[in-house]
Subunit: 315 residues, 2 copies
């Protein structure tokens, strides 16, 4: 049995609605056991009495309007912090899925679950190439100010992540404004030299136009650039569909591709570098999102992501 | 008559082929006069004897493999440097269009045409919203390392540019990883404060997903982020079309939108901040590109771009 903690507080929709996603995930995956954190009053009618689902009553929620550090102090009964506490104390939970605010997840994960090898925790986001194969972008927004050494840590975590999703020898690349090693701002030029030296699967720089179609499985960047990259892909994807619709095109293919580029329907980011991988849905998550982030947590745990990260930082 | 210098050297295709674009531009625009710089042997058979076209023989070319500073010293007979020299000495040429390498254009423009108000010259690129209205991104790659004051200069030049393309009160925004003023890396947070203070049309930050559909007419960023932004728009746009084709969609609408996102068929970047605006085509330019960059040079000159930039930096 793989045990996953699911924090259902802090999103825009009701916990009762989000709980439907827990049921769906458990029905899909025979070896999944979920601890569902939220208000018992809301969750009991939906989840009560079901096999492999355990409700943990958490009367408080942490939302986007809470200050992360203050919320950590004052909302110890929140679904997020109770979930982290159980992850820490039980020792048998393999992953956490949450729709809570990113800042609060970071603060509480660092304090309660600790860091791996003193790295800066960061957000990995998985994208799909047009042929459906995965790539991951690290960091997507957690560390807007970086030194080159941090980018090397991101590369290692990204490589472990890609191995956990089934890519045997992930090719690592650095986001830059030109393919040549000499291109980039000071940070990127330093990181390029460091990756050339220390990362055996480093294949050089990747420009924005080659992220989705190039050879790299892991795109390494500081959190500011990564955030610009991801959001720009979303915005451009949706703009193209809008332009095609304005030209009269219709049909399922357009809806399907629009959905792929719409972050509201996408999986979620994964917080890496603390004691457990945490799959994060966005604040506007629905029950489908909840099912998808629990499924992702389960799959990363089943494929030994945390052990693979530990390997990368060993020695 | 508006006189434009066209540098036809340094691109991948033959000068004779590119020269066709000069003819097309002159046929389109009655008030256009072009000085065409390139090898007389190549250009004469195509352009010789035509009205409002003057060939200036330039036996050398500067290519992407030349070191910009060295080329400036050693290739004084190149089409690029001869074109700049004539712009400087004649006093009656209003714009320069070139398919030469960006680095060499910068070096020679700064040395021969000088800077406006000590600003850092930068690259502005015009994008179209899905409804066809223009926005511009400044800087798109010339200054990968910036201070906040530079970003304010970019904002001013971007505003002047948008006024020259017909937007009366351009709204200025800053590319960031969040809409709130507090978001961004150190540079962006400082620039946000500076723009709040000194730029009356500043409307706050814009995230990557809102660049193409948001309210901002001018997107201000450092050259590294701007380059990532632009290339990512291109890459995502082409990826979406590839995915739709893989799903079986066909037709003119797809080809049209693909063409819009394909940098090979787009206008070009404009170098702003030196004595003359320089419209730059890419190295893989064809005759259509040449026509389009000459047309853009003409239009920016006719609409007083340089005077508008001077106004922005006055007093």
């Amino acid at each position: 049995m793989i045990k996953i903690a699911a924090d259902l507080g802090g999103a825009d929709r009701s916990q009762a609605e989000l709980a439907e996603g827990v049921i769906k995930a458990v029905e899909e995956l025979d070896e999944l056991y979920v601890y569902a954190f939220g208000s018992a009053g809301e969750l009991e009618p939906v989840l009560g009495g079901r096999e492999r689902i355990e409700i943990v009553d958490s009367p408080q929620v942490i939302t986007n309007s809470d200050d992360p550090a203050l919320a950590f102090k004052e909302k110890q009964d929140s679904s997020l912090i109770k979930a982290m506490e159980l992850c820490r104390s039980s020792g048998s939970i393999s992953g956490l899925a949450s729709c809570g605010p990113t800042g609060a997840i970071f603060v509480s994960a660092i304090r309660l679950l600790g860091r791996i090898a003193r790295v800066s925790p960061m957000l990995a986001v998985e994208l799909k190439r047009p042929d459906g194969s995965p790539i991951c972008v690290v960091d997507c927004g957690a560390n807007v100010e970086c030194r080159a050494e941090k980018l090397l840590d991101f590369a290692k975590m990204g490589r472990a992540y890609m191995r956990a999703v089934g890519v045997k020898a992930p090719r690592v690349s650095l986001l830059s404004n030109g393919a040549e090693d000499s291109k980039g701002n000071e940070l990127v030029r330093k990181a390029n030299a460091l990756l050339r030296e220390s990362c055996p699967d480093f294949i050089g720089n990747t420009e924005g136009n080659n992220v989705l179609t190039g050879a790299a499985d892991v795109i390494v960047c500081d959190g500011f650039s990564g955030n610009v990259l991801l959001k720009t892909i979303e915005g451009a994807g949706k703009a193209v569909i809008a332009e095609l619709r304005a030209l009269g095109l219709r049909g399922e293919a357009l809806d399907k591709v629009y959905k792929k580029y719409d972050h509201n329907t996408q999986g979620g980011a994964v917080l890496l570098g603390t004691g457990l991988p945490i799959v994060k849905g966005h604040g506007s998550a629905n029950s489908e999102t909840v099912c998808s982030i629990i499924r992702a947590s389960y799959s990363l745990a089943a494929n030994g992501l945390n052990e693979k990260i530990a390997e990368e930082f060993k020695g």
